[in-house]
Amino acid sequence: MTSVATQSGPARGAGLWDRLTIRTKRVVWAWAFLAVPIVFYAGIRFYPTFQAFWLSLTDWDLLRPASFIGLGNYEALFSDPLFWRVFRNTFTYLIIGTPVSLVIAFVVAYYLDRVRFMHGFIRALYFLPFLTTAAAMAWVWRWFYQPVPIGVINGFLGTVGLPAQPFLRSVDQALPAIMATAIWAGLGFQIIIFMAGLRAIPTTYYEAARIDGLGEWAILRKITLPLLKPTTVFLVVFSSIGFLRIFDQVYNMTTNDPGGPLNSTKPLVLMIYQTAFSSYDMGYAAAQTVVLFTILLIVSLMQLWVLRNRA
């Protein structure tokens, strides 16, 4: 009985496969290959994401089994003054960091594009910080910002007769000081992308504009910027997500008092990290993650929508 089945099995299967059209076979093959990354993503990305949504409704602390507490974590979060402080910090990083970094990157790319002398070398110099480990870079900047006698910046201020600045030891200056490092770190990447975008604009447009007697400013406004829009959209979204998720620079520049002084530099991701891995309050941390996820989603969709509609 079994032997009959095993003999006829492959024959019947082959028959079924043979009956399919080439088109269908192709589709089946395509899906067979696509299934691998889909299964991988579902298991590694989507499943944990949904798990986090569930966790945010529990009081799991790693040690004891989780129990369902409804929206308790969200209620606690929205009434936590620390959350609103962190929320404000995160948006300060975003709202100041993104435009400033893009303007600087564009100006550098715009002029660098015209430089012929040592062009490759200068471009490499700008790109170098992007290749450097964020942690190492943050530590170097952390020492730059120190008070005298070791802080380079304060040493310079001292020699030109200006008063020393507290930088990282100040509730007002610490956030801008860290943001400057983050902007500098991401600049190389943005410059390269802007330059690729500038190169992609056909030179015929510029030639035509010059023949028509348009000035440099008009060319920039009427031709370069509009045609650079896809690049700009990409960079705005990319850089916004980067600033919303800022962590490395803040954590490494303030390890003695993470996110300090007095939480003045703490972004949402650092709060999540501390809630989860220092206080082991996994449910509460998951609720914060869901909020971050929602913010990222809304901001990204809004930017795509705004920048698309203006075309």
Partner: protein, 417 residues
């Protein structure tokens, strides 16, 4: 017939395996990475295996930042260490999470523990059970830079003995540039370092108070006593200008660089200060005007993992007994520089007269141990308290009240769980 043979074979196989495991038990020991500690433990394991050839100890280490998470994650995954190192302040969490098991009083009799170890071992006791034993203990002392003392015209062999002398010495050794910026501190300051222990267990007690209620559930520093202690500590910067918060990034960095005349730190710093390119000394923490002294002591203990049972449990008990033995403590003192947790091993003539270990050992005799529920969070409260005074100009009394409120919330959250 056939099945019976098979059964016989199975039984034979199982008994063979059982005999095999009885001959060689492997247990796991977990601790965090710290060079000298790893080296000392490797040596202890080698000694132990030589004496117990049937037991193999696998030494597993993790970076400090991940350590607790790894222990917890291992428990969740149903596997974990047989013997595990933990900070005394983590005990409540480890017990609540079922990560460790109580020590069997037949093998570790309570009377012996209480008579042989320093009294601070009681921090490992919960509901009548001991959960772990330390190899070494730590205390605080005043480190001072003899070269800077001499330069300032002070006697390098007479470190300050009282808090008033401390201020005087700090004033004499502070250096400033033309702009008034400190270029070399008299004493380091920073609640993120050991100062929060100094404030809690030493300065508050020297002012006649205590940091927490006797059962540890209530803050007890909100009165005048706490305020006096805070004003003294913060005053090092605000009143006397002999300390600069954040100077050289960290207190220990400032001292190592020879840019701080004094710093308060623990035994565990002896190793890294050994290579300082200048002469330095150690003194007992300064007394108050009445001569009252206090100190803060802490330790890492070794405990037996909750999942250890049967032969592994027996081997783990043997190993724990060995690493808490006088012999192990001497190895630890030599290699790591941390003080033996047994009184008779620590308080020898040789150790007490040692210029480096002596002051720490004297401190142990009157030391207190804080019962932390979330050390990082409670330290953060202290950091924020002083930052409000230093950076936002808040009144010390207000800063103290706010800190007490924040820390009480942390305690409540833990004890009301």
């Amino acid at each position: 017939m056939r099945s019976r043979t098979r059964l016989a074979g199975l039984v034979a196989g199982i008994s063979f395996l059982a005999v095999g495991s009885a001959q060689a038990v492997e247990i796991e020991y977990w601790q965090y990475v710290f060079d000298s500690r790893v080296k000392a433990m490797d040596q202890l394991i080698a000694n132990f295996q030589e004496a117990n050839p049937d037991i193999t100890v696998k030494h597993v280490t993790f970076p400090y930042a991940d350590y607790q998470t790894r222990v917890v994650a291992a428990k969740v995954a149903g596997q974990g260490p047989d013997v595990v190192q933990l900070f005394y302040g983590w005990l409540d969490n480890f017990v609540a999470g079922g990560l460790i098991q109580p020590l069997d009083p037949e093998i570790f009799p309570h009377e012996e523990i209480e008579s042989d170890f320093f009294p601070i071992v009681s921090a490992m006791k919960r509901d009548g059970d001991y959960y772990g034993l330390p190899t070494a203990v730590r205390s605080l002392a005043l480190f001072y830079n003899k070269a800077l003392f001499e330069e300032a015209g002070l006697d390098p062999n007479k470190p300050p003995q009282t808090l008033d002398e401390l201020i005087e010495a700090a004033k004499a050794t502070t250096k400033r540039d033309g702009g008034g910026n400190i270029t070399s501190e008299g004493i380091t300051i920073g609640m993120e370092g050991q100062d929060h222990h100094w404030w809690r267990e030493v300065l508050i007690r020297q002012n006649g108070g205590q940091p927490y209620s006797d059962d540890g559930t209530k803050i007890a520093y909100t009165d005048e006593v706490g305020l006096a202690a805070l004003k003294f500590h913060a005053g090092l910067h605000t009143e006397h200008g002999v300390a600069q918060p954040g100077f050289m990034d960290e207190a220990q960095a400032a001292f190592r660089a020879g840019l701080a005349a004094m710093t308060i730190d623990g035994t565990f710093r002896l190793g890294s200060f050994a290579e300082n390119p200048f002469e330095w000394g150690v003194a007992e923490l300064p007394a108050n005007a009445d001569g009252t002294r206090s100190n803060y002591s802490s330790y890492f203990a070794n405990a037996i993992g909750a999942l250890s049972e049967g032969e592994e449990l027996e081997a783990a008990q043997k190993f724990l007994a060995y690493i808490s033995s006088p012999e192990a403590m001497e190895v630890w003192l030599e290699t790591v520089g941390e003080l033996p947790a047994r009184k008779d091993v620590a308080l020898t003539e040789k150790n007490l007269s040692d210029p480096t270990y002596g002051p720490f050992l004297k401190g142990l005799e009157y030391a207190h141990t804080t019962r932390f529920v979330d050390e990082a969070a409670q330290r953060q409260v202290m950091i924020d308290m002083e930052n409000r005074i230093f950076l936002e100009g808040q009144d010390p009394a207000e800063a103290l009240a706010l800190a007490a409120e924040e820390e009480q919330a942390i305690l409540d959250k833990f004890y009301n769980k």
